[in-house]
Symmetry: C2
Subunit: 337 residues, 2 copies
DNA sequence: AAAGAACTTGCAATCGTTTGCGAGTGCGTT
DNA sequence: AACGCACTCGCAAACGATTGCAAGTTCTTT
């Protein structure tokens, strides 16, 4: 197999000229005569010559590859971000290599090694929930390979990031619930050490306080996926602690909550309002459809790629924190204003 | 930037020995004395030396990269397949480069060029809906780069593929609808030139015929995404053509249909049963939850990677068509047996 | 004491491409 | 007729790593 792709040398041999001439002819170097250029180009076309990107990388010390690490590919938000990255990358002539950490710090570390060994020009990363030690990222940065973080960032590392204003978005969503008449709210939160989670939690808390509603930590439960949302809702029901409004840290948790409420025959939004976060596809499919915060993943990916490529090509050193605007998407799981 | 990653030469220079010695020392070649080995390994560790994968690729003519082309990354099925590929690839020491065609033949062609230029060791592909001309794939195969197709395959190209038995799965799903009492069935289908679509259609048709139910082409409508399913359902309602059972080509179409039926206050499954295809996350989230065909994307990806890597490493020439088993997942959008 | 064996290590070519510099030809000018 | 200048093109080194072969040193053996 690998029956040999055509190289410059092959063309040179057939035409009985040197490889350098072929190289120059292919890129219209003025030193080369028109006849030679034509001969070369014609043969290259005929043999379907494609430059060997690997050889070019070795030579130029640039791979034109962007490495990506996400917790999981099978996730609407992350795949949307990847799609945004891919879009700009393809346009700018970069390839993307994707790895997933599966929320395991060990795998994340291995991914870093692999990408470093693959000499990617830069990396775009959303870290695992559990990671507390960020030395592996610091090591990469010290080699001169730029990293842009998105969504889940790393506290204490000075580098570029693309994020949303989680605090404000959560504040706004919570305030919407209050304005539509909810008086007894709960928050289903993600892990505390994840900045996006804690910010959303504080946005929730502060919205209550500023609206003169009592807040304490017992109004925050840990639940950040479908089944946790589902189970928690049942538990609250059994212990007679169901509120009249729930703000969840993401859409999947909200979907689990809605699913449980449906089974319990509790009417949404009449008895309980539910507000999600992310605006994934599922928010249109739940019954009732889910009010949520639009977190433009595509734009986040596109922006991250934009910042990274700029850094790669212009070798600037200043770091950027780009904030992607969010907005409330009001559907049928909440009451109208 | 790119402040220079450590190379073998750097180590050689510091230790005042040759690059060849360093190379051999690092791989425990018996020619090298233990003292030298220790010195080299120690320094390599200290400087965090990582072999330059690009140089190795150039040398060995193997990139250890698998190229992937999917219509879109933001799609539960495709991202699940990618996840399966990534899993085995990572285990076997391969990286994956992902490109998306966005259902555009032009982009698909460009992706082929890029991957070929990147000298990927092999490719895993699901083609666009529209592609009719497969010459670009033939050209790749003629360079000796193996391709494994999955799900959407290419008629007339002799190469490996990983598929499901779409005909049988559709037949079984349809028969289930019949057995649970549906007498007036419709099929919401995908494009005819897509083999998976036409096979599902024929499975539907034959299930009717074998169960002595009249079939003609007017029982097949074209609708293969959420909004088409949604709109078509409304149209059928208005023209008074709603059936008592619908088998859709995929889950998203079924979700659109369910959404419309919900708005029309038509009871599922009492008045109309709906059967989907794929078993994506959304099938658990719709209301009622969706009966569907499980199409194990993860396993498809894993198997495709398995076949491809085997082909790359063992250079076999026989082609495989692997069929991933499916099964019916019965939820609440259909009646019970 | 000389010769060969055993043990270490370095040289150079290779993978495909680019690029500075040197060299060869043919022409026109003085 | 001799010189210089365009115009073409090739040589060789470089990118990082590997590897067959040659070469160097040290030690043992006769």
């Amino acid at each position: 197999m690998k029956s040999h792709q055509v190289t410059i040398k092959d063309i040179a041999k057939i035409l009985d000229i040197s490889a350098s001439t072929v190289s120059r002819a292919l890129k219209d170097h003025p030193d080369i005569s028109i006849e030679t250029k034509n001969k070369v180009k014609e043969l290259a076309e005929k043999l379907k010559y494609k430059p060997n990107a690997i050889a070019l990388s070795l030579q130029s010390n640039k791979s034109h590859i962007i490495g990506i690490i996400v917790p999981q590919i099978v996730n609407h938000f992350f795949s949307t971000v990847i799609s945004g990255i891919e879009e700009l990358a393809a346009e700018k002539g970069y390839n993307i290599i994707i790895t997933q950490s599966n929320e395991s710090q060990k795998k994340e570390l291995a991914n870093c090694q692999t990408l470093l060994s693959g000499r990617v020009d830069g990396m775009i990363v959303s870290r695992t929930k559990n990671t507390e030690n960020f030395d592996h990222f610091r090591n990469i940065l010290s080699t001169g390979t730029p990293i842009v973080f998105f969504d889940r960032t790393c506290h204490g590392i000075k580098t570029d990031k693309v994020i949303i204003d989680d605090y404000k978005a959560a504040y706004d969503a919570t305030e919407y619930l209050i304005k539509t008449g909810c008086k007894n709210l709960l928050h289903f939160a993600g892990p505390e050490n994840l900045k996006i989670s804690s910010k959303r939690m504080w946005g929730f808390a502060d919205a209550l306080k500023r609206n003169n509603i009592f807040f304490n930590e017992e109004m925050v439960y840990y639940a950040d996926n479908f089944s946790k949302g589902y189970n928690l809702t049942f538990e609250l029901y059994k212990s007679n602690h169901l509120p009249d409004g729930i703000f969840t840290v993401n859409d999947m948790t909200a979907a689990g909550t809605l699913s449980a409420l449906n089974e319990l025959k509790i009417k949404v939004p009449d008895e309980i309002s539910v507000f999600g976060f992310t605006n994934g596809i599922i928010s249109q499919i739940t019954s009732p459809s889910l009010s949520t915060v639009e977190q433009n993943g595509y734009l986040m990916g596109y922006s991250a790629a934009e910042i990274l490529i700029n850094k790669i090509e212009n070798e600037t050193t200043d770091t950027i924190s780009k904030i992607i605007p969010t907005k409330l998407i009001i559907r049928n799981s909440t009451k109208k204003l």
